[in-house]
Symmetry: C2
Subunit: 463 residues, 2 copies
């Protein structure tokens, strides 16, 4: 169906790009054949390092005219195979388009190229007393990757998700045309919101080549509370009560002792406490220590009333860093503790988190497979990992499917969604299909066709 | 092209609805032939008062099969003709589906029917110490109307717009199918965001029959500052400096003396001060008086440094109400001061507001037409009114077009958008088309076709 890359195509690509930016066939590094989780594997036929929007536009136009599939790629930190070239063709690596283009302090916007890393943005704005709130665990992801999955991260409880901070986008469409949607404006009611359709579309509707982000003033202070509980259910059941008490922490994470132990192993550093079975980790931010204290005192009291053993206050940068760097390493730590794993990134209503996690605990015993989890108790987004350990290929494939079928099924019953922030990509297509009506899937397909009638941009993803 | 309503159609509608809920031909009230501004006029052939999603679904399915256009309608408070049945057919009035269905305090969501008024929601949640931040001036609009225009209102500076508070929707599609998008979940990365496509689509992609809204805890206190300036340019030029100072007020409105005088006339009540040419009206909210004072003191100082005559602090409910009810009456007051008017609702980057308003002042003299404005200086969304006064039909049509051509043209040059929050509807189609590329308009059209291949749902709007 798709055209195979030949010498003419390579000649064209060399006419658009520098020689070193066009890598063909076996010279392509293995890194570009998979993403972070590695369950989906396939090499592109040619790998392009893009340096400008014009290049991306010319290549996309050529690919469109010649029926060649194109896969956009950032840092490859995804977990669902969205940036894997499952149909071969051209992969466009955007990670070298990584300049910060403009800080506009009067409109509180930052305009960046797609390959800028989340950690670069964080540091850049913080140095200028500004704040880009979305805070996914993976700080070495590109901003365009975050936009394409509508990444949420830790601070979604108080500050919302990536979508809420994207004001404008420059996008190369599947036919190579360049469009600008949104801008620096705060409000917009001028036709369908193509910007919001591109956000979360996993590189299937257009290639993001520039983004204008909304910034906030930097809260001057943040204090974290680490709160040990006798068990996880008790910990998580406290969260809806915190919300109901009209307190909105910046973050509410849950963690279990064995994940903390894995992180200690992985980092070679001790966590402030590992004696309890389960913990909540809360952050509060504000402009003065007193403001924040007022806010967290009632929450601390509420946690103690709900059975917490203690409340450890962490108000130094050093201690905060130690706790949050452990939290940031959970995925890597769990990955290092087994041979292979796959992830279920469901989101359920906040008051159903405890029920879902209890279900995965029971499932672990019932199916005799290790299942580890951590996640965002405050926004209902869970990261649940099924571990292969010493299973052979066949056992693993059966066990994984069985675990996923159960978990996605349960999430549906609890009125959850297949993915909170990691997307559908290639790996979760079946579960999206099961969770949605035919009508919904038909709409998704017609929108894709409206943008990309030849199905050339990142084909094989989402549906 | 469309089928004209006949007796069979009426019989079908009577089989789905109560007799009193089906009104035909000349029995239809004149109210339903236009919206608030009245520039677009046309009667539907039949007016249905809907009582349930199932009714809406059945009627839509019938209309789809029989090629009859359908126009959804709320309170008719729109300003661009989006809820006028420009092709006749069936109008579905959803304003009687007005129940609050569920307050979920653990997930901080409110689920409502489409016809609930904004003021009803505001009061309901406030009584429960909760907060629905979007605050458009027109409080008697329905929530579905707000969703369909992605209304922003006064508090967008700090809290964002309607889109940011819509978590889930139930929607009747043009073919009559019912879909649910989103839900109570805080994060979502599960396929294209149909929810965000429906928000702001002005009833052209589906009929919203239920909405789940995100709530916040109610800030315990709000203080307003009324700040007189020697002239409007000086007032508005202060706003980017306020933003740059890292202070985010809840609202930043600008107003001129003659609009204040019109409001005094209209309401028969004095405004706290009317001696200066121009004013900024700022609000700050928070949980204690002290917190808020800390916040506004530096802003007050900054305004004085930028040339403000004084800073009037309004910290009693009574005084706040008096100022904000005047602000809320500006549209009505301007309307009452002339024979007819039309509105330009552009949004420009925050730092271009002064430039745009100065342009409308010059235009007023140049074209010899009265142009009055007020609006949201903090988010760049302006409401600019061209007044007919004693012009005859022909003069008015020429003068209005000339004024609009100039203003929308200038907004484009300043990288603004045609509409900040009132939508495109029927009246502003030409200006949307001029401001967007062919490519963008083609995408809009293909999305519409994907949802509504027969172009039956609210046809003749947006493009």
């Amino acid at each position: 169906m798709y055209k195979t890359i030949d010498k003419n195509d390579i000649d064209f690509l060399l006419s658009v790009c520098e020689k070193d930016d066009v890598i063909v066939g076996e010279d392509i590094s293995e890194d570009f054949s998979h993403d972070e989780l590695g369950g989906v594997e396939k090499y592109p036929e040619v790998l392009i390092t893009a340096r400008s929007t014009e290049q991306v536009s010319k290549i996309m136009k050529y690919a469109y005219e010649n029926n060649i599939p194109v896969t956009p790629r950032g840092q490859g930190t995804g977990l669902v195979g969205a940036s894997v070239a499952v149909h071969g063709g051209i992969m466009i690596n955007l990670s070298k388009m990584d300049r910060i283009l403009e800080l506009d302090e009067e409109n509180l916007t930052l305009t960046v190229e797609p390959g800028v890393l989340l950690m670069t943005i964080g540091q850049y704005v913080q140095e200028r007393d500004l704040f880009y709130p979305p805070d996914p665990g993976e700080k070495s992801a590109t901003i365009a990757g975050n936009i394409n999955t509508n990444a949420g991260g830790m601070r979604a409880v108080k500050y919302g998700v990536t979508r809420d901070y994207v004001r404008g986008l420059e996008v190369v469409l599947p036919n190579g045309e360049i469009i600008n949607v949104g801008g620096k404006v705060v409000k917009n009611s001028s036709g369908y919101s193509i910007k919001d359709l591109i956000v979360g579309s996993e590189g299937t509707l257009g290639i993001v080549t520039k983004a204008t982000l909304k910034l906030l003033p930097l809260p001057k202070k943040a204090i974290s509370l680490l709160i040990p509980f006798p068990d996880l259910e008790m910990a998580i059941n406290t969260v809806p009560k915190i919300i109901k008490s009209k307190s909105i922490p910046t973050a509410v994470e849950f963690m279990e002792r064995d994940v903390i132990l894995a992180a200690e192993d992985f980092l070679g550093k001790k966590f402030p406490d590992n004696t309890s079975d389960a913990y909540l980790l809360l952050t509060f931010d504000g402009n003065t220590k007193e403001d924040i204290e007022k806010e967290y005192e009632k929450v601390a009291q509420l946690c103690l009333e709900c059975g917490a053993y203690d409340v450890f206050i962490s108000d130094t940068q050093e201690r905060n860093d130690s706790i949050w760097s452990a939290r940031g390493s959970f995925l890597e730590a769990i990955k290092a503790s087994t041979t292979e794993m796959d992830e279920c990134d469901v989101v359920v209503p906040r008051d159903k988190v405890a029920e879902f996690i209890k279900y995965t605990h029971d499932l672990q015993n019932e199916l005799n497979v290790r299942i580890k989890s951590f996640g965002h108790a405050g926004d209902g987004n869970l990261h649940v990992y099924v571990l292969r350990d010493d299973m052979d290929e066949k056992q693993w494939s059966i066990k994984l499917k069985e675990s996923f079928d159960h978990m996605y099924g349960r999430a549906r019953e609890l009125r959850g969604q297949v993915s909170g922030e990691h997307g559908i990509g290639y790996a979760k297509k079946g579960y999206l299909h099961e969770s949605q009506s035919e009508v919904y899937m038909d709409i998704i397909k017609s929108i894709k066709t409206a943008f990309d009638p030849k199905n050339l941009l990142n084909p094989g993803k989402i549906y």
